[in-house]
């Protein structure tokens, strides 16, 4: 059996009890063509590609990012200039706001890139990001959902994410690579005013050292409309389901509960899963509406996706929407089964919390745990085990769960 690590729990608790989870006030000013509301989006191949997005209040004419790979000659501080591939006014009546997207490709894996956003000569502070590794090293991922209300708490959570992100980069820790957001970013996805506030708040996830936290977005039921794709640099008609590899052994599949779950998406999933399971040590999914909810009713994905999760032995499935903290007992074929799938999440990035219905069969078990409170899930992967921790606003670790590698893979068996 994998062993718990009380030292880790203590580390986190101390860091946040002693630390200040007050609000940062470093939001960039949104005026003229001043670059603001920046996002680093990861979808496929985060080892070699990324999308950099920012906004300006005025349309401007010339938008680009200035990029410098760590290790470049110091005398050429900004050696790569990448023009924005897509600029435009957001598809909303008001407010006037313009998006700019740069799609980076052919990046070096596990490499630090310094980045400055520039619009009509006005520059953002220089920040940096690190591409995903290709070496089989321990890595971590943050998962959270439901930031559509409770804006004060949302900002506090973002500050906490930033601290966790920064602190995880120390040598003895498994570094957090990215933040998977399971949807319901805002109350009404068709209202740009709400998105604008979310994007301003998202700046708070940037580390104090200027490190950008990559976001892996899933669409929630409140995120309808065209703005989602404009904000996260997806093609206009994209359906928002995709694969993200966080290193060579961790695969996160982002699914979309707001498009057909039984049609093309299911066919795509069936096509992708055989290779995913065979090649990756850790296989996960994230999406918004839960198949095994703690409060609400199961969504249509229960019948469409769960058989695939079970057939291909997913290691963890992350869900949102319910506004509580949930970890189910391992489930297979609608029964508790030690070989089954554990479903976690339900969302607490700001939203008010609901009371979990613990009398449901998959929650009414010593192998399950539920609760309430603003939180984020921290998932850590190494060669032997997957560690799941729920970190509350303030740093307390509410729940821990560990599971061993379930499927030996070719890569995993290599020395």
């Amino acid at each position: 059996m994998p062993r718990r690590s009380p030292k880790f729990t203590l580390l986190f608790a101390l860091a946040f009890v002693c630390g200040d989870v007050s609000l940062a006030s470093a939001d960039a000013t949104l005026e003229g063509t001043n670059p603001a509301q920046w996002r680093l989006v990861w979808t496929t191949h985060p080892d070699t590609s990324a999308a950099l997005c920012w906004n300006t209040l005025e349309a401007g004419e010339h938008h680009r990012v200035l990029l410098r790979r760590e290790g470049s000659a110091d005398e050429t501080p900004l050696e790569i200039i990448v023009e924005a591939s897509r600029n435009g006014r957001y598809s909303a009546k008001s407010p006037d706001l313009y998006f700019h997207h740069v799609h980076l490709s052919d990046l070096e894996p596990a490499t630090k890139y310094h980045v400055t956003f520039e619009s009509d000569g006005k520059r953002s502070p220089t920040m940096f990001f690190v591409t995903a590794p290709v070496d089989d090293l321990p890595v971590s991922l943050l998962f959270g959902a439901d930031s559509r209300s409770g804006l004060q708490a949302r900002r506090q959570m973002n500050v906490m994410l930033s601290k966790m992100f920064t602190e995880s980069q120390t040598a003895e820790r498994a570094p957090i690579l990215a933040f998977a957001h399971g949807g319901d970013f805002v109350m009404d996805g068709r209202t740009l005013e709400q998105w604008s506030q979310w994007m301003t708040d998202h700046e708070l996830t940037t580390g104090a050292d200027g490190r950008l936290l990559p976001i892996i977005p899933a669409r929630g039921n409140h995120d309808g409309g065209k703005l989602f794709n404009e904000i996260f640099a997806f093609p206009p008609s994209d359906k928002n389901y995709y694969i993200t590899d966080l290193g060579p052994q961790v695969r996160l599949i982002t699914l979309n509960t707001e498009t057909s779950v039984s049609g093309d998406q299911l066919e795509w999933l069936k096509t992708e899963l055989p290779a995913s399971r065979a090649e990756k040590r850790w296989l996960l999914a994230q999406y918004h509406r839960p198949a095994f909810p703690a409060v609400k009713q199961p969504w249509l994905n229960l019948m469409a996706w769960v058989p695939q999760f079970e057939k291909y032995n997913f290691d963890l499935v992350c869900e949102g929407d319910g506004h509580n903290i949930k970890r189910t007992a391992p489930i297979r074929d609608f029964k508790i089964d030690p070989t089954g799938i554990v479903y976690i999440g339900e969302g607490g990035l700001g939203v008010g919390q609901r009371t979990p219905k613990n009398n449901r069969w998959y929650l009414n078990s010593s192998q399950a745990k539920t609760g309430q409170g603003h939180h984020v899930q921290l998932l850590t992967f190494d060669r032997k085990q997957l560690a799941y921790r729920v970190v509350m606003l303030g740093g307390e670790v509410f729940d821990e769960y560990f599971r061993s590698v379930r499927t030996p893979t070719k890569a995993a068996s290599q020395p």
Binding site: S149, G224, G225, G263, D264, K296, Q297, A304
Partner: protein, 304 residues
């Protein structure tokens, strides 16, 4: 008014009233399960959401108690509508409260941004916000129509004609809204089509095969909506009643009895209203054919 009292005696008239009564009662039973057993309703979420995003910011326990009380009252209302107690104010009270409830559910859908899953590229977000008022109109119209017809004894025939006209336009709006959603490839409808096909025929329908079907269904819905208010065709109304029943039942077929029986009952107005209207038209035809003088023909009061 003599004409109304004449209608009162006819079995078709009684059939119209009982069609609406059963429709409302079925809707009540569906709502009862939704409110008291399933619990997750737009109404609950509206009560729970904070005020800064349009909610009422009630505590979870208060909201759940209120919803339980409402849910059990709805079940009692179903009994009152069918039983028709001699205490005269009880039935109007039941129907009036059901109208208010359905209106509140619709307002809740609008407030919490629910009830329109379509990712429309052609309909403006401002218009989309009001989509629940169109899709839910039949559920408000059924108890409201019955309430208006029940008051007829103190009114003239004009109220009956207006009520039937209101019901006809209501169901036209419902079909139009659903037709637009189908045209826009609402993913929920796509899944209904794919899953129903799988369950009925054991054959999986691909999304690329389902999409043209949905477009055709949407087109037909829109044409039926237009025909319903522009031509006097019994066939159109009978087809709407049939199709309303099929689409309500599709929830049951696609998702199974345990999950979705209440969803089918909640949509009883989608077949109950066209059925009531078509019976009314049959009644008008019957009366017209039996009229002795041309001036007495009710068809004069009929639109179009």
């Amino acid at each position: 008014m003599s004409t109304t009292s004449n209608l009162d005696q006819h079995r078709l008239w009684r059939a119209i009233l009982w069609t609406l009564r059963v429709t409302v009662a079925l809707q009540c039973v569906g709502n009862w399960r939704w409110l008291t057993q399933i619990e997750e309703t737009p109404l609950l979420h509206w009560m729970l959401d904070p005020t800064d995003i349009g909610g009422l910011a009630w505590s979870e326990s208060t909201a759940l108690v209120v919803q339980q009380v409402v849910g059990w009252w709805v079940l009692l209302a179903a009994g009152l509508v069918l039983w028709r107690p001699t205490v005269r104010f009880l039935e109007p009270l039941a129907l009036g409260s059901l109208v208010v409830l359905q209106a509140l559910i619709t307002i809740a859908m609008w407030r919490i941004v629910d009830g329109y899953a379509l990712q429309s590229t052609t309909i403006s977000p401002q218009l989309l916000m009001f989509f629940p008022f169109a899709t839910q109109l039949g559920r408000i119209a059924a108890p409201l129509g019955l309430l208006m017809l029940n008051m007829e004894s103190r009114q003239d025939e004009r109220r009956t004609v207006l009520t039937m006209r209101f019901l006809r336009w209501s169901i036209a709006v419902v079909f139009l809204a659903h037709g637009v959603e189908a045209w826009q490839q609402n993913p929920r409808f796509l899944d209904l089509l794919i899953n129903s096909t799988q369950r009925l025929f054991g054959q999986s329908l691909s999304q690329s095969a389902a999409e043209p079907w949905l477009t055709a269904i949407g087109t037909l819905d829109i044409m039926l909506a237009i025909a319903c208010v522009s031509v006097r065709s019994l066939t159109v109304l009978w087809w709407m009643a049939f199709w309303g029943a099929v689409t309500a039942l599709s929830r049951l077929i696609a998702n199974g009895w345990e999950v979705s029986w209440h969803e089918t009952l909640i949509r009883s107005s989608h077949f109950g209203i066209p059925l009531a209207v078509v019976l009314w038209w049959h009644l008008l035809e019957y009366k017209a054919s039996n009229s002795k003088s041309k001036s007495e023909r009710l068809s004069a009061n009929f639109e179009p």
